[in-house]
């Protein structure tokens, strides 16, 4: 479900790419330091984006160091020094990934999910102690979400709303002092969450039909067992609108934020990376093949 938010790499400047990777590595190191080495495996791009975004709302200079890390032992890399936002993003990463794995374990008895839940339990408790209100709010949305999934809700908006609300909680970081910025961040998170949820739903149609599990798009448009590709084709326009409009709202919220640095990277993601990602899923150009580590 996670990892859809990423830059449009060919369009990034090399300098921007290095800085983005610096943030990514910084978040990875922060995770390791705060939650143990295993937690580093759960790192995803969405939270790296959040880290860059939050850190770009102040004008403090970016500082880091070229150093080695155990994930990439051969080559030294530029890694940005950890700060409050890295810590916040790492907490949110643990919380989101724990709930995600727990969900997988409960729904499908997925072995990976079960193992992950066990391995992350301690880290999760730690993160929960740091953000008790956020976790309570996220849990209540997750409860509603799974209730809607159980009753086979036939409206994509209604289901996506809950996931959007979770991402709103994640994006509304308390350490951002400006109230307007927090509000814009919240709306951005909500719409990004909607986009992630619906994009993932479209991506999973085949799998869900095969496993007979819930998929909001299948229940809204009623797949009746004819050719699955025809079905996907028939709903593509509608889904495309819902996705693109959500992204246009992400962009509107983004343009109201007072971005002080990393504008190149953030613009790249908001104005291009997300569109490229949407098209990749809608047109089914092999996503899995293109996935590679930074």
């Amino acid at each position: 479900m996670f990892g859809y938010v990423e830059p449009d790499k060919p369009e990034l400047k090399i300098r921007e790419y290095d800085v983005f990777r610096g943030y990514y590595c910084s978040l990875c190191k922060t995770l390791g330091r705060r939650y143990g080495q295993f937690s580093r495996l759960t790192l995803n791009y969405d939270l790296a984006f959040l880290y860059v975004l939050l850190d770009s709302l102040n004008s403090l200079p970016i500082s880091g160091k070229i150093q080695r890390c155990i994930v990439h032992p051969l080559k030294k890399r530029f890694i940005i020094f950890s700060n409050d936002f890295a810590e916040y993003a790492s907490d949110m990463n643990i919380i989101l990934m724990y709930y995600n794995l727990e969900d997988k374990w409960n729904d499908e008895k997925n072995v990976m999910g079960g193992t992950g839940v066990l391995a992350l339990k301690r880290a999760f408790n730690k993160a929960k102690r740091r953000h008790p209100e956020k976790c309570a709010s996220i849990e209540s949305h997750l409860k509603k979400l799974s209730a809607l999934e159980k009753q086979g809700c036939d409206s994509m908006d209604e289901v996506a709303e809950e996931f959007g609300a979770i991402m709103r909680d994640i994006f509304e970081c308390e350490s951002i002092n400006d109230e307007n910025d927090r509000k814009a961040l919240g709306w951005m998170g909500y719409n990004l969450g909607r986009w992630i949820y619906l994009l993932d739903a479209y991506n999973d149609i085949e799998k869900d039909v095969k496993n007979n599990s819930f998929n909001p798009l299948v229940s809204q448009y009623g797949f009746k067992g004819y050719n699955i590709n025809d079905f996907k084709e028939s709903i593509r326009g509608k889904v495309n609108f819902a996705l693109t409009y959500s992204l246009s709202e992400v962009e509107k919220a983004y343009s109201l934020l007072a971005i002080e640095k990393n504008k190149g990277i953030l613009d790249n993601i908001v104005y291009s990376g997300l569109i490229v990602r949407t098209d990749k899923v809608l047109q089914e150009r092999g996503i899995e093949d293109e996935k590679e580590s930074l």
Binding site: D157, K183, A242, S248, E251, L256, I275
Partner: protein, 233 residues
């Protein structure tokens, strides 16, 4: 603390008149109230717009060059005018008036009070109350679907919002307001998808594939007309 007008417009200090004007136009388009209709962030956009207008005004005052004066007056008045209408709209909301402008006010004068109430709540951002009234209404006509669509959009339910407004347009194709809303939705999403950044990137630049196809087409057409562009095929 007053902000540096150059920074507000995102330009270098001492930028030329044209640069200032271009930057202003670009930003005014970005934060235009039309783009933030039915958006919970409308007030932030409004504030931003005010900042931009002030910065532009100040820079233009300082530029103070006589030959630019008429042009400047014009655009300044324009911006003031748009601010004015916006303010008016705002006051209408405050005083409890329900519609966007008088044209619609007239149109709905004879209709049920409930519709007007819904409009009022939508304008003031009280979406829960608007939904409650909509649920109570029995007559599901085009206006109902339109208002329901607006409520959905405001909540972030774009799929249902779009279908509702589409339905309103189908039920009453002659209504300008409904069609306008539908067009606006399509425009917003297309406008985002073909934004400047994306348009100027490699996605749309001609690549080798295109080049070959174009050459091949050209050759075929030439042969149709009796000539030949590439003699070997």
């Amino acid at each position: 603390m007053k902000k540096n007008p150059y920074k507000v417009l995102g330009i270098k200090e001492g930028a030329s008149y044209d640069e200032i004007k271009r930057a202003y136009r670009e930003l005014a388009k970005k934060y235009h109230p039309d783009r933030y209709q039915n958006n919970p962030l409308a007030d932030l956009a409004e504030e931003k717009m005010r900042e931009i207008n002030e910065a532009y005004e100040e820079l233009m005052k300082n530029a103070g060059n006589y030959q630019y004066r008429p042009d400047y007056e014009e655009s300044y008045n324009n911006s003031n005018a748009s601010q004015g209408t916006y303010k008016q709209q705002y006051q209408q909301q405050q005083s409890g008036s329900y519609s966007y402008n008088t044209q619609y006010q007239y149109q709905y004068e004879n209709e049920s009070d409930l519709e007007n109430k819904v409009r009022m709540y939508i304008n003031s951002g009280n979406i829960a109350e608007a939904q409650r009234i909509l649920d109570r209404m029995k007559n599901r006509n085009a206006a109902w679907y339109y208002l329901q669509g607006l409520v959905f959009l405001r909540r972030g339910w774009y799929d249902r919002g779009y279908s509702s407004i589409q339905r309103a347009v189908n039920m009453d194709p002659s209504n300008f307001e409904y069609r306008n809303a539908l067009n606006n939705l399509n425009q917003q999403s297309a406008g985002y998808r073909y934004n400047n950044y994306y348009r100027n990137s490699y996605h749309t630049s001609p690549d080798m594939c295109n080049l070959c196809i174009n050459l091949w087409c050209l050759d075929t057409f030439c042969e149709c007309m009796g000539g030949d562009l590439i003699s070997c095929c």
